[in-house]
């Protein structure tokens, strides 16, 4: 898990999550929902917002409780806190729109097992103050949302010529259906990972610094 950002200030912690330590594109965490519900932009947006809110709520709670939880009961307590917030978000989404809830399906409940949420609780929130945990969770949440939108836009645009349901490529565009199907998820994520790697490599070779790429981690 990543605890390298321990010394940064709150804005630094926040920015870290969005770009340098992006949970999806750099750390490769929480892949299941990223691949499963990124076939349209609107689903990606809803899933990203749901995950970010669970992440922020559970990080804050874990950070508040950090002195009272014995280390042996850590994981069980964290996961119960996360499950509670996921259930609450599930009910809130249902009260907003049944159609959206149907589109996200079981993946909404599966936020409980998103490695990212438990990972941040364990690696950051259980050791840091509430303010810093909030900054970290917000940063990671935004980074997750950003990555989901990257994937969702590409998949919907190439797969059906639309973004957020608005046709961008005209009526004559024949959708590349495979991008909406499971293989398309794997391919476009691979594409984005390569792009980010290329970007980082190029920037660091330009500035001449030696930078250790964070490879795939556990999760």
């Amino acid at each position: 898990m990543h605890t390298t950002d321990a010394a940064a200030s709150e804005p630094g912690v926040f920015a870290n999550g969005i770009w340098k330590q992006n949970p999806v594109l750099v750390q490769v965490l929480g892949m299941c929902p990223v691949l499963a519900v990124s076939n349209t932009t609107i689903n990606a947006l809803a899933m990203g917002l749901a995950t970010a809110s669970v992440l922020i709520l559970s990080s804050a709670t874990v950070s508040l409780l950090r002195h009272w939880i014995p280390p042996q009961a850590r994981i069980v307590t964290f996961i119960m806190v996360i499950a509670t917030f996921v259930t609450c978000v599930d009910y809130l989404v249902q009260s907003i729109s049944i159609e959206l809830h149907r589109a996200l399906g079981a993946f909404l409940s599966l936020i409980v097992v998103n490695c990212l949420v438990l990972g941040r609780a364990e690696a950051f929130a259980s050791q840091q103050s509430v303010r810093r945990s909030l900054a970290d969770a917000a940063g990671m949440g935004c980074g997750f949302l950003f990555a989901l939108l990257c994937l969702g836009t590409v998949r919907e645009l190439v797969g059906s010529g639309q973004v957020f349901g608005y046709p961008l490529l005209g009526d004559r565009y024949q959708g590349w259906a495979i991008m909406l199907l499971p293989p398309g998820g794997f391919f476009s994520l691979a594409g984005w990972l390569m792009f980010f790697r290329w970007w980082t490599l190029r920037r660091h070779s330009a500035s001449g610094s030696t930078f250790q790429l964070s490879g795939p981690t556990d999760g």
Partner: protein
């Protein structure tokens, strides 16, 4: 939160303390879930009902309001009757749609069947007066985009179900057999499929046919309740 303040002073490695914290957190979490559940329950129920009513109206042309009915199987065989009730979430409920004058347009029924990839859920309208299917709408499917999902968009396929006759074949004292299609179409899957989506289009036709066969006798047995609900 009394448990948590207790733990602050105690030795955190004692099994009882761990147990207490876990139970304490569990109880707090359960209470929180219960609170949110109670707070959102009414809206969720309303949303679900509105979603289903909306779907029902799209397959019942001319209907402006719907009422849900549940089949009450009081006696043996078909001696039950329809009961109007508010539970619109059960798959065992049908929705009857009425025009502005209060006359029965038709009933909307939800059905599910196996498609190419996974289960297809759909809702279709049936007119008991004309004994025809009025149309259908897919509620949920994971069929191949660009191929299987054309069952919703291919107008030639969708139009076949507008006014598709339903025939009851009397077989004496057994339940009547019900089939889709007119005299020239002897079997359910003689509905023309879509090339490239053969399995999905057959699945839609078969799902509707099986569902009609199941509900037809009950609708016939107590049609007057459905008819007179808004007269």
């Amino acid at each position: 939160m009394s448990q948590t303040s207790l733990n602050k002073t105690a030795n955190p490695t004692s099994p009882w303390q761990i147990y207490l914290v876990v139970v304490g957190v569990g109880v707090t979490c359960g209470t929180l879930i219960l609170a949110v559940h109670e707070a959102t329950r009414q809206r969720i129920t309303d949303n679900r009902a509105a979603y289903r009513d909306q779907a029902a109206i799209t397959v019942l042309p001319g209907a402006i309001r719907v009422t849900s009915f549940r089949w009450d199987d009081t006696g043996q065989g078909l001696s039950g009757h329809w009961v109007a009730d508010g539970d619109r979430q059960s798959a065992e409920t049908i929705l009857a749609g009425y025009d502005p004058a209060g006359a029965l347009v038709g009933v909307a029924i939800e059905a599910a069947g196996r498609g190419y990839q996974d289960t297809i859920r759909l809702i279709y309208g049936y007119s008991p007066t004309q004994q025809v299917i009025l149309g259908f709408r897919i509620l949920e499917s994971r069929e191949t985009p660009g191929l299987g999902d054309r069952v919703e968009t291919d107008s030639a396929f969708v139009d076949q179900f507008r006014g598709l006759p339903v025939q009851a074949i009397d077989r004496g004292n057994e339940e009547p057999r019900v089939e889709l299609g007119g005299a020239d179409q002897q079997r359910a899957w003689q509905v023309d499929g879509i090339s490239g989506a053969t399995v999905t289009s057959r699945a839609v036709a078969r799902t509707i046919a099986e569902s009609v066969a199941r509900w037809f006798p009950r609708i016939e047995a107590d049609l007057s309740t459905l008819r007179e609900a808004h007269l």
